[in-house]
């Protein structure tokens, strides 16, 4: 009977399949395999894709470098799959370096790294090397998005007509506090310098949704929060979350005739969603970071270190050199762009008041004395939002 034939055929195919895989081609001797673990889909147009692209870039720049990756490592997409299992698979594939790219992998990276003391691990956006929790074969790399957030804040100040800027925040932690505060500092300085405004007249309000993206029933709905901010008088909305609600909502309101702008985040092409409202995008450029890490391992210079990279000031959009970038948006006028370029130059030369005292925390306690410049550690562990900002600090 036909069905029996089909059955036999498929069983035969299956058996063949296991034979075929048994003789897989031997790896070339020059190859350097590195494993990349992503928390979201490799093509999410956001945080995970930025990492994936960075690793791809490294493959093109370093001869013989080959990425093996696993995306969507979270318990909703892959129940029961742990980082340890993934690393084991990658090591079996010949990986000589493991890069874990989500804040969420911090604790697991330390545990797994301890089981492979000779294998270098890099955990991105963590600080367990600083805090001393990470084993010796772990390093942390991150880039100073704070500067490009300040540039974004400046763009907001240049464009606002109501003098009210909104910031759509994710959850509250060290990283998000310092990024929102960086945006505020850039905004306040440009408001004073280029708009001749009084900081007292500038309203900068942060509303947190509770997570990096919308989880119905768990977080606040970013679309609702974005609309609430606009309703409260804000006319420029900056995004601090992984997804695109800020620019989408701004676009809808512009279509209804309102004069509003948006500044998305993370992904270089984010303005394309609605170019007419977009003042620009601060984004991560992981390519050069991956190249640097791989070269360190290849040259036997990998260290137990915490690296926090400055942007490449000569050209923020240099894909080979700048670890973070700022892409100008079409909604920026020519004059505004000139002012923004001027601000960027001053930021590069250290001639701005970016994290320079006098600066108080939100509750009025002193953070930096007059003329005092914040250390990296003071910025990394910023305990509250800054004085003058509206929104929750804890």
């Amino acid at each position: 009977m036909k069905r029996t034939t089909l059955f036999v055929l498929i069983v035969a195919l299956l058996v063949l399949g296991s034979v075929v895989t048994a003789c897989k081609p031997a790896a070339s001797t020059e190859e350097f395999v590195f494993g990349v673990v992503l928390v979201g889909p490799y093509n999410d147009h956001g945080y995970s894709e930025a990492h994936y692209q960075g690793a791809k870039y490294a493959e093109t720049k370093i001869p013989g470098a080959r990425m093996v990756y696993l995306d969507k490592l979270n318990s909703a997409d892959r129940p029961g799959t742990t980082l340890e299992q993934v690393v084991e698979e990658m090591v079996a594939e010949g990986a000589k370096l493991i890069i874990t790219t989500s804040d969420d992998f911090g604790a697991d990276t330390d545990v797994v790294a301890a089981k492979y003391p000779d294998l270098p691990f890099v955990h991105m956006s963590g600080d367990n090397v600083l805090t001393g929790e990470a084993p010796d074969n772990v390093a942390n790399f991150f880039s100073k998005m704070e500067y490009t957030k300040a540039i974004a804040g400046c763009a907001a100040a240049l464009a606002t007509e109501t003098g009210e800027v909104g910031y759509l925040g994710p959850l509250i932690n060290d990283e998000t506090r310092r990024l929102a505060s960086s945006a505020y500092l850039g905004c306040r300085e440009c408001w004073e310098t280029y708009r001749g405004g009084d900081p007292e007249d500038l309203r900068f309000v942060v509303n947190w949704i509770g997570f990096w993206f919308n989880i119905p029933g768990v977080t606040l709905d970013p679309t609702v929060v974005a609309n609430d901010l606009f309703n409260s008088g804000v006319d420029v909305l900056m995004s601090g979350i992984d997804t695109t609600e800020a620019i989408v909502v701004a676009g809808q309101r512009m279509d209804k005739g309102e004069k509003v702008w948006a500044i998305p985040y993370d992904y270089e092409g984010a303005c394309e969603i609605k170019p007419e409202v977009c003042l620009g995008t601060p984004y991560f450029n992981w390519g050069p970071v991956y190249v640097e890490i791989i070269n360190k391992v290849l040259d036997d210079k990998f260290e137990h270190e915490f690296v926090w990279h400055d942007p490449y000031w000569k050209d923020l959009s240099d894909e080979d050199k700048s670890y973070v970038g700022f892409k100008y948006g079409p909604a920026l006028t020519e004059d505004q762009q000139k002012d923004l370029e001027d601000y960027i130059d001053k930021l590069a030369d250290g001639k701005t008041k970016f994290f320079v005292g006098p600066l108080n925390l939100q509750d009025g306690t002193a953070y930096l004395a007059d003329g005092e410049k914040a250390t990296d550690e003071q910025i990394w562990y910023l305990p509250q939002l800054l004085e003058g900002m509206e929104g929750a600090s804890q």
């Binding site: 195919l13 399949g17 075929v20 742990t82 084991e88 698979e89 969420d104 604790a107 768990v218």
Partner: protein, 342 residues
């Protein structure tokens, strides 16, 4: 109904899986990948070494337990969609014990297991009461409580149980070592977890086949009214069925926290409650078929990351295989019914 040959029976049983493979082959060919290599990767990724077998065994644990529980509620004719929430309730109760009680492993581990079973049973009790006292269909009760359990987990992770240096989606801090289920050597296989899962399915198999209670449940399942008239306290049996199911599902949640993740994470249930539904359907409500179906699902789960790691294929293909099996199962069942009518 005419009698069918055993060969045909078996063929109809495995037909969904075969059809899925055919469909997957077509998808792979369209994607430009070698189907044989892809299936080979899944198989070798799941079975090539003792370590892999250990991973498959551990992947089977929550599914076996949830499916065992669901056999009970299915026997009573109940659509228990609330297994997911029962898994979560077990995980929450276990986490409370693991984080709050300070005791040596010999005391703490049995307590985590008991707490998990109690938590799941309590969740089952709620569904049962809503069904019997509130006269609300168990599908709505279960689904509603699933969402409550999710919200509760997130509240606890981002509230009272958050790590000292701030809450994240990675969950609570790891449990103290005393609350880690022991593993065999350097593998990830935990013997107590595997034994508990095996015990769960065997006990349910026996209960449904040989016990009076099993008989009563089936009577309720066949015809609730008739069973009631014959003197069976149907409400009590229904609540009990939900609680027994909850105990097993809660145990699954408990073991996910103590033997797999070693902490509470936001989606601790990982959809096992829903997947178990498919497992039970695919096994034709027969306890003895459940382990085989579970093995199939677990092997795909453990083996499919290789599609991405070695072949750069989107590993959602594993999900396509699992979902396709269910789809074809329904088709083949329809076909079966037609054949029986002829």
């Amino acid at each position: 109904m005419k009698a069918r040959s055993p060969a045909l029976q078996v063929l109809l049983g495995v037909a969904p899986i075969l059809l899925t493979l055919v469909a997957a082959t077509a998808i792979l060919l369209v994607a430009g990948a070698n189907p044989l290599a892809a299936f080979g990767q899944i198989i070798s990724g799941a079975f090539e070494s003792p370590r892999k077998l250990a991973d498959v065994a551990m992947a089977m644990v929550p599914l076996l337990l949830c499916a065992a529980g669901m056999l009970v509620t299915f026997a009573a004719g109940l659509w228990n969609i609330g297994v997911e929430g029962q898994v979560v309730a077990g995980a929450l109760a276990t986490t409370w014990v693991a984080l709050r009680l300070n005791a040596p492993a010999a005391v703490l581990l049995p307590l985590t297991v008991l707490a998990g079973m109690a938590g799941g049973a309590l969740w089952g009790l709620l569904i049962g009461l809503i069904r019997t006292k509130g006269k609300v269909n168990e599908i709505f009760a279960g689904l509603g409580l699933n969402y409550v359990s999710m919200a509760l987990t997130n509240y606890l992770i981002f509230g009272p149980w958050k790590p000292p240096d701030g809450a994240t989606m990675s969950g609570t801090d790891p449990f103290p070592r005393a609350a880690w289920m022991p593993v065999i050597g350097t593998s990830r296989a935990s013997l107590p977890a595997i034994l508990l899962a095996v015990a769960g399915i065997v006990v349910i198999w026996w209960l449904l086949r040989d016990s009076q209670w099993g008989l009563r449940l089936k009577a309720v399942g066949q015809n609730e009214n008739a069973a009631y008239r014959l003197g069976i306290r149907t409400s009590r049996e229904i609540v009990l069925a939900f609680m027994v199911c909850g105990m097993l599902a809660g145990l699954a949640g408990s073991l996910q926290t103590t033997a797999v993740y070693r902490r509470l994470i936001p989606s601790i249930s990982g959809g096992y409650g829903y997947m178990a539904q498919l497992v039970v359907l695919l096994s034709g409500l027969r306890a003895q078929a459940v382990p085989l179906v579970v093995l199939f699902f677990a092997a795909i789960q453990v083996g499919s990351p290789r599609l991405e790691l070695r072949m750069y294929l989107d590993s959602s293909l594993g999900g396509v295989l699992q979902a396709g099996t269910v789809l074809f199962f329904l088709l083949v069942r329809g076909l079966r019914q037609r054949l029986s009518k002829e």
